[in-house]
Every structure is written in structure tokens, then in C-alpha cells.
């Protein structure tokens, strides 16, 4: 027994015999466990929040849901793997390059699938994005195959211990990038002409075009922007969860739930919704039952929709005049 354990727990010394094993067992207190659930929840929730923000940007301008949003996330991860691992470009260059490439895909999506629509109703746009999502997924399968890919984390794999819980360095990057996205988007929508024009389209497209805003251009900008944010989400999550061609759909479902929970169209709502869903999943899995963790998030979503159909932070007045 003592013999075999030395190679089982490779590199660990100081344990002799079975009693030694039990004494040295790393213990974890309940409060550390709670903290660990919270850390995990916030990390995953940040990704959901990024996907939800992407949904919101396009929704605000077009009132349509972009079903290819999850595909942007998947592309972000896989393009980054290609540039970082296959071409071996350092993160500092490959990250912006990946975002640019996926943004191009977003622009193409608008030019090839959305703009040619002769009667751009919400339903037509939604169906166009569903078609595009199948196409992008199929193309990714052709290009990358079906196996999952790994991306080296930005700053090593050594976890950081924190009050008995562990934090993956990549988790900090995920949360950090969410903060960057929130700050940059806030500045963009509040301080720049382009951002204000996008907001104007969100409020009233026909009035916007009357004051000289090209609504079609704004739709293009919204697709480019949400592709960029989706790509960033994919890039930062891949070192944690790996990435394969068909993962986008699941992330899109979670992101959409976050979006609806927080109030569709609201950016603070998207962040709140994303983090809440992440936390509930993680706490539910840890404290109640891991088999039903998705149920808890969906129950909360249903409950919120019963009480406040416009979502947690959505504007009830606005949601009444929305088409969708």
C-alpha cells in the first residue's frame, strides 16, 4: 500500500501508511466551499454575461435575436487556438487579431444574410441568423474537425489559493475582460457619436433616420460589435473549458437566458443576469444537486418572468412597445 501510493500521488511526500493519508487529506471548510462555488459561478457567469451583451447590442438596434451569437463565441475560441497554437503568435497580438477576424465574420453575416433581406422583419432576421449559425458551425467543423481544442492560459496554470478556495488565473482574466467590456461599452454608448447613434436607433429607428442616421449602417455596426464581444468571450473561456465546433449553441442558450433574466436590451441587466445564472448553477450544483443545476437557473428565470415580464432590470414601459 505504502509503495503503490508513492507513484499514485506522484511527487507527494510525507505520507506513510493509511493513517498518514487520512490525516494529510486536504480538508475544506464549508465557508471555503461556499467561496469556491461563488468563484466558479462568477467565472462562468461572466461568459454568459458577455454572450448576453452581444445579444443585447443587436437586439437594441434591430429588435431581432441573433441566433448566431454562440457561433461568434465558438469562432473566437477556435480562431484564437489557430493563431496562438498553430501559428504561434503571442497573446498580445493574436487576441486583437482574432477579434478582428471574427468581427469580419460578423460584418459578413450582416452583409450576406441581413442586408439582402427585402423586407427586414424581425422574424426574417431571426431566421436568417439561424441559417447563418448552421452555416458557421458546419464551416468550423470542416476547418477544425470535431475534436476539442485547448488554448494555453494567458498566465500559467498554477491556481491561486484564496481563503481555502482556489482561483484559476484564467478565471481572473475572464472577469477582468468582462469589466473591460462593460467600461468600454459604457464609454462608447455615452461618449461617442457612433454610440449615441446606435442608442438612437435602439430607441426609434425611423426617427433616427429622419435626423440623418443611416440605420443600415448601424445594424452593421451592431453585428460587428457583438461579434467582437462574442469572440472575446470565446477567447477567454477556451483555456478553461476547451472549445469545439458545436459548443456555441449551449453558450447561446445560457447567454440568452441571462439576457431575458436581466431584461432584454439592458446592459446592466445582461451582466446581472449572466452572473446570477452562473452563481445559481454553481451553488445549486454544490449545495443541492448537480444533476438539477440547470433547473434552478430556469426556475429562477420563469419566476422572474412571472413577476416582472420585462426582466430584472428591463424597462416595463419599453418592453410594451417592443415587437418581440
Amino acid at each position: 500500500m505504502a509503495n503503490c501510493r508513492t507513484y499514485w500521488h506522484n511527487g507527494r511526500t510525507g505520507t506513510t501508511g493509511i493513517t498518514g493519508l487520512t490525516k494529510n487529506m486536504e480538508e475544506i471548510s464549508f465557508s471555503s466551499q461556499l467561496l469556491q462555488y461563488a468563484i466558479t459561478g462568477v467565472t462562468i457567469g461572466s461568459i454568459y454575461a458577455m454572450v448576453a451583451i452581444g445579444f443585447n447590442i443587436i437586439y437594441n438596434v434591430t429588435e431581432a435575436i441573433n441566433f448566431a451569437q454562440g457561433e461568434f463565441v465558438m469562432l473566437g475560441g477556435l480562431v484564437m487556438v489557430f493563431l496562438r497554437v498553430a501559428v504561434n503568435i503571442p497573446v498580445i497580438f493574436s487576441l486583437p487579431l482574432t477579434i478582428m477576424l471574427v468581427t469580419m465574420v460578423g460584418i459578413l453575416l450582416d452583409r450576406l444574410a441581413i442586408k439582402p433581406l427585402s423586407k427586414p422583419s424581425v422574424l426574417a432576421m431571426v431566421i436568417a441568423t439561424i441559417g447563418a449559425s448552421f452555416f458557421i458551425r458546419g464551416a468550423a467543423m470542416m476547418l477544425w474537425g470535431k475534436n476539442p481544442f485547448d488554448l494555453p492560459p494567458f498566465s500559467g496554470r498554477n491556481p491561486i489559493s484564496f481563503l481555502g478556495a482556489v482561483v484559476q488565473p484564467q478565471g481572473l482574466w475572464v472577469v477582468g475582460f468582462l469589466l473591460v467590456v462593460v467600461v468600454v461599452l459604457t464609454l462608447f454608448f455615452d461618449r461617442t457619436i457612433l454610440g449615441k447613434a446606435l442608442r438612437a436607433c435602439a430607441v426609434n429607428p425611423s426617427a433616427s433616420s429622419l435626423v440623418g442616421i443611416n440605420v443600415k449602417h448601424m445594424v452593421l455596426v451592431s453585428f460587428a460589435l457583438s461579434a467582437a464581444i462574442g469572440a472575446l468571450g470565446g477567447i477567454v473561456i477556451t483555456p478553461i473549458s476547451l472549445m469545439e465546433y458545436d459548443r456555441g449553441a449551449m453558450l447561446a442558450v445560457k447567454g440568452f437566458s441571462a439576457c431575458v433574466l436581466g431584461g432584454i436590451g439592458s446592459f446592466p441587466g445582461a451582466v446581472t443576469g449572466g452572473l446570477l445564472i452562473g452563481l445559481i448553477e454553481s451553488l445549486g450544483a454544490g449545495l443541492v444537486s448537480s444533476g438539477y443545476k440547470d433547473v434552478f437557473a430556469l426556475l429562477l428565470l420563469l419566476f422572474v418572468l412571472f413577476v416582472r415580464p420585462s426582466g430584472l432590470l428591463g424597462n416595463a414601459e419599453v418592453s410594451k412597445i417592443r415587437k418581440f
Binding site: L21, T22, E26, M141, K146, P148, P152, P159, L242
Partner: protein
């Protein structure tokens, strides 16, 4: 006038005779040029289970080429009709019906998934056609779990989940482990493994302190593992396939849970998984079939030759590593080929031959079929291996 008429009659008779003769002769000519043996295959080549179907299809195609290059089966070329079910049970059922009624194959290999195999086995039974499944669940071959009665026309090549669970528990018992936690993915594969682990636990004196689950596309299992860490088991058994099993290994390493030995199911059997785990898989145990560990098998091992040949040929043709799943397809097609060579393309004879086949050395074990066992393998078809220096190493 009379003579004329009889000449006309003669001409008509002659014409009829020629036409008849051609009708009768043409098939005869075809047979003498060795009619191809048609074998059907249904794999999940694309879709959610493509990691199973893709190597299975590649293996089957490779094996078919090898057989035909050597002159076929007793002079008959082997014709393989492969359909992709995309992991969808409706498409799978359609493909099987198409193989039976339109392609008129004499045997079917596949499907890749247990759920789909269960869905199509009534078709095989109804049309009396041998079906050699490449999916693991024991339910595929067992008609009545109480009496152990087997489905008449259905066989399968992969080891049952219960054998993997037995192999893991036997190893644990030998190393004094009795307090364990179970992690499983909420797919058919995970659920089947989980139920076998729970069922067999009392027999091996295992106490299960946690029974956690996660979804097949989940991004992180830290929450489940944190809960397990709080319960301090001696070992964790994880039962899943695809990227999640790699994420579990990484989370286990990050949470510094090396005091709880991690056992993976046989689904972990690809070097790609060790690679993807990026160093975190060191010290992880799993039960594997011989085909996963051909290089580390001792030279005297019964399966050494057949597994090494497959490994080299596959690597040369596709430039990728073999996986367990390709091995299951190899076993299935090689079994059918052997039966065709021995008894020809008669469906009932193929079935009877397979049912009584003994000592067939395949990729995943030495098959000994019997009317009571349409899988033909025991838990000895699994070797316990440990990940050491980024590769598999045999362990006792």
C-alpha cells in the same frame, strides 16, 4: 403456307430461348465473377457523437480496403455501405431500414451509440439480419436482464460498462480504497456507467459518499469537485466522454485533490485526452482495452500483434492516433468478415456462426461468444492503466 407458319413458330421459339437463356445466364456469369458481399454500417460520423463515428467509419473503410487488396473474402470483394446517422435516432432507424430493404446487405455493423442501438435492434430482430453494434450498453444484447436471455440477431463488440466498473472496483479493492465519490455526465453513457457503479458498489464493499452529475457541454466542474472535496473520499470515479472528462481532470488538479485518486471510465482511452489535460492527467487511472495501449503491451500478449498492426495502418493512412471507438468498429467488421469467409452471405448462417465463435482475437479482447453471451468479453478485456509521463503505463 403451313411450312411458313412452322418456320415462324420456330423463330419465335428460338427467340424466346435466347431471351430466356440471357436472363438465366447473366446472373450466373455475375456470380462466377464473384458477387460482392454487402455489409451495411451505420455510424454517427457527424453530430454530437462524431468522436465515435468518425474513427469507426475511417477504420471500417481502411479494413475494407485491406480485405479487398488481399483479394476479398474467398474471392468475393467486400462492399461496405456506410450511412451517417448524425447521432439522431430517427435518421439511424431510416438508415437501418434502407440497408435492409434497398441495399439488401447481409449484416449490419453499428450504430455507434447505445441509445440508437436499442432503438434499431427491433428492426434487426424483425428482418432477421445480424447486427453487430459498436455501442457499449449490455442492454443492447440482453433481451431479459433477469434470465440473461440474449437478443437472437444482435451482437456487440465493446466491453460492457459493468466490466469497466468491475475492473475499477477490483483495482480499488486491491489498493485499500473503499470510500469513493462518483461523477458522471448526464448522457446515456454517463447514466449507464453511473448505474453500474451504484449497482456493483455493495459487492465490492464500496461506500459512495457523493454522486454528482454535469451536462455534456458544461464549461467547468469545480463546483461538483468542491463538494466532493468537502466529503474527503479516497477516490473519485468520473464517467464521461468528450471534452468534459478533460475539464474534470484539470479541475481536480487545480483544486489540489491528488489525495483522492481519480479514476476515469474507459471513455478516457485516447492520448489526445492526456495531451488536452496539459499535464493534469498524471496519476489518473482508467480501464482500457488492448487497442489503446498496443505499444505498452508485453510482446507475449495475445493481442499485441493485431493491435500493433491496426495502430500502424491507421496512423499511416489517417495520420492520427487510434481510439477505442475505431477498435470497436474493427472488431465488428472483422467478426462479420470472418463469418462471411466461413459460411458465406446467408444471414442465418452468419448469425449462428457468430454465436458459436470462440477465441477470436480482436482489438478489445479475445471474444468467446455463446448463446448466453452475445458480447463474448469478460472484465479481463480491460487492463488498468495509469497516466505516467504523459503516456499510458500498465499497472497491476
Amino acid at each position: 403456307m403451313k411450312a411458313n407458319r412452322s418456320v415462324g413458330k420456330g423463330a419465335v421459339c428460338l427467340l424466346a430461348a435466347v431471351v430466356l437463356a440471357t436472363f438465366i445466364l447473366i446472373p450466373v456469369v455475375q456470380v462466377s465473377a464473384a458477387e460482392a458481399y454487402k455489409v451495411g454500417a451505420v455510424f454517427s460520423v457527424t453530430g454530437r457523437a462524431s468522436f465515435l463515428g468518425d474513427p469507426e467509419k475511417k477504420t471500417a473503410v481502411m479494413l475494407q480496403e485491406e480485405i479487398n487488396k488481399k483479394g476479398g473474402i474467398n474471392g468475393h470483394p467486400l462492399e461496405l455501405v456506410i450511412y451517417d446517422d448524425e447521432g439522431d435516432s430517427t435518421k439511424c432507424a431510416l438508415a437501418v431500414r434502407k440497408l435492409i430493404s434497398r441495399d439488401k446487405v447481409c449484416a449490419i455493423i453499428g450504430p455507434s451509440l447505445s441509445g440508437l442501438s436499442l432503438a434499431v435492434l427491433p428492426e434487426a430482430e424483425k428482418h432477421k439480419i445480424p447486427l453487430v453494434s459498436c455501442a457499449a450498453s449490455y442492454k443492447i444484447v440482453t433481451k431479459n436482464p433477469e434470465t440473461g436471455e440474449q437478443w437472437k440477431w444482435v451482437f456487440k463488440t465493446p466491453q460492457s460498462d459493468s466490466m469497466a466498473a468491475e475492473a475499477i472496483y477490483t483495482h480499488m479493492k486491491k489498493h485499500g480504497i473503499s470510500k469513493i465519490a462518483i461523477l458522471s455526465v448526464t448522457t446515456g453513457f454517463g447514466a449507464s456507467g453511473r448505474s453500474e457503479l451504484l449497482r456493483l458498489a455493495p459487492q465490492f464493499g464500496m461506500t459512495i459518499v457523493a454522486d454528482e452529475k454535469y451536462g455534456p457541454k458544461d464549461t467547468d466542474m469545480t463546483a461538483q469537485l468542491t463538494k466532493i472535496k468537502g466529503l474527503a473520499p479516497q477516490a473519485i470515479v468520473n464517467w464521461s466522454i468528450g471534452p468534459t472528462q478533460v475539464v474534470v481532470v484539470r479541475n481536480w488538479k487545480e483544486l489540489a485533490m491528488t489525495n483522492a485518486t481519480l479514476y476515469q471510465s474507459h471513455g478516457f482511452g485516447s492520448r489526445k485526452n492526456i495531451e488536452l489535460a496539459a499535464g493534469a492527467a498524471e496519476g489518473v487511472y482508467c480501464p482500457l482495452g488492448a487497442c489503446n495501449i498496443a505499444e505498452v503491451l508485453p510482446a507475449a500478449h495475445l493481442q499485441k500483434k493485431v493491435t500493433m498492426e491496426y495502430l500502424k495502418a491507421y496512423k499511416a493512412k489517417y495520420n492520427e492516433a487510434v481510439s477505442s471507438f475505431g477498435g470497436h468498429a474493427w472488431d465488428a467488421l472483422a467478426l462479420v468478415t470472418k463469418a462471411l469467409g466461413a459460411v458465406g452471405s446467408d444471414k442465418a448462417k452468419i448469425r449462428d456462426y457468430l454465436e458459436n465463435l470462440k477465441g477470436f482475437v480482436g482489438q478489445h479482447g479475445v471474444f468467446n461468444f455463446s448463446p448466453k453471451d452475445h458480447n463474448g468479453l469478460t472484465k479481463e478485456a480491460f487492463q488498468m492503466v495509469v497516466v505516467k509521463n504523459g503516456d499510458w503505463a500498465l499497472t497491476d
